[in-house]
Amino acid sequence: MSRRRGAIGLGLVVLGALIPYIGLHLPWVLPSTVNVVNSTGTLTVLALCFIFAGVALGYDVIFGYTGLLSLGPVMYFATGVYVFDITLTHWNWPLVPALLATFATSLVLAVVLGAIALRVSGIAFTMVTLAFAQAFYYLIEDNPHGLTGGDTGLALYSSRLPAFMSGAVSNTRNLYWIALGFLVVSYAVVWLVTESATGHVLVAIRENERRLEVLGVHPFRYKLAAYTLSSLVATGGGVAYILLIGTAVPSAVASVTVTLSILIMVVLGGAGTRWGAVTGAIVYVYLQQYLLKVAAEPSFASLPAFLRVPLSQPQFLLGAIFVLFVIFVPGGVAGVVVRRRLRVAAERFDAASATPSNTVQEEP
């Protein structure tokens, strides 16, 4: 079973890696302006999908597995974007030191702020993470010493960046591969952690924290570890993002909206499952980008206002889909699939145990 899933995963990664060589026309799947699979526009959208899939995976460790509703992931995403951008653009550091500085900053921030936030639990934890992330946003907006560029943003420009990574259009496929690589690495890390003994402790924290304490396990350390891991993954996503997009703007990379988007991706896909988070993120980013393009098409303008206005707002459609999912599909996409699998298994079990009856306990 798991070997088959491993083969499917490997197949998907290989397919993803080959996409830049596929010149297929997909008129309905892709917006008409960029409907060739390996066009720059499509590759950029797919790369964004992969980046947020990785970030969502990391966030799923703290939210889905450990059960802590943190509203802080954007802070670490923005750390990846801005520290990397600043060390390269302003200070002209070489690539490797810039990367090290970026992850070191994120690590320190996550450990210190995580330790403070985890002093409180439940809703208060959520609030504190939100407040820290907001403070970080205000700091970036403030443009201290002209470092962040404030509202106008900060474009990535560095002669020290290897040529194949620079933001030129011809490099899009390289940046696409970097984004795919980031997703693969995040998946591997999250897979290792969640399948390990630590991962089981995290799930136990979500299910019943007090029972763990009775068993003599200190949940705090594990919670901090989960928080830090998901923060570092978000930082990696930030680095891949600034390489791909080339400009850091606070409203796009540091505002609470980014956190909410990540949260929505994980919930849509199914919190607490790895491929659920990945699926949710890819669907979300794809819809967000695609819906914008659809709304810009000329045929759209002829629709009556009551249809045109809501349909032209990705934010409305995604928000509405999200509400419906939370109410009617609580486990997300993954939940539906898992339930179906369980039902099939139960039917097989029932069939197998049909003769010696009355020993099977029926679930309500």
Binding site: E207, N208, R211, P364
Partner: protein, 232 residues
Amino acid sequence: MTSAVSITDLHVTIAGSHVLQGVSIEVPVGGVTALLGRNGVGKTTTLRALLGLVPSTGAISVLGTDVRGWPTHRIVRLGVGYVPEDRDVFAGLTVAENLRLAERIDEPRYDDVYAIFPELAERTRQRAGTLSGGQQQMVSIARALLNGWPLLLVDEPSKGLAPRLVSELADTLERVASLATVLLVEQNLAVVRRLAERIVVLDHGEVVHAGDAVELADPELARRFLGVTGAR
């Protein structure tokens, strides 16, 4: 109606643990039925499930009505007074406000309540959180008595009370039991021996014994089921 409460095959799962595993209890009308067992065997959970405060499966009938899936407030309005473990008075509300919230009939029986607890009549404007433990227990019982309801669920009323107060409490419960059917969860065997006519013993989420209260005189039974030797 033969039973005040009839529970059949009740299952409750809380945070992953199977707390009640097929409990069946019949509480006949009138008198006191005591629900016994060590700490953590599911006595409080049984009462809470009966009131719909925790999700459960199985059949529950209260005062002759099948209440499966009912919301708590509707079950209570059938005529159930509830005195929870730890009393659960509203600490920020005054005594009068606590009682006012419990009023469910047009003419609540304040005279009866104040006759049993004259002390409360003097403290109506005091915040319940500033009362002593015994006084809070009075408020809690008073709330359950105010409507003259036929069924009372009383959860460990003697818990945390001084010995002198415990015997006063037993006097009160004796008066109460002459007015209504009482399902009593209690650890204090002296109180149980004095009040209860029937006992039901729970262990590990199952009923392990049901019978007449006089059996409690047998110290072996008390030790085996309750982990106690004699009265505490």
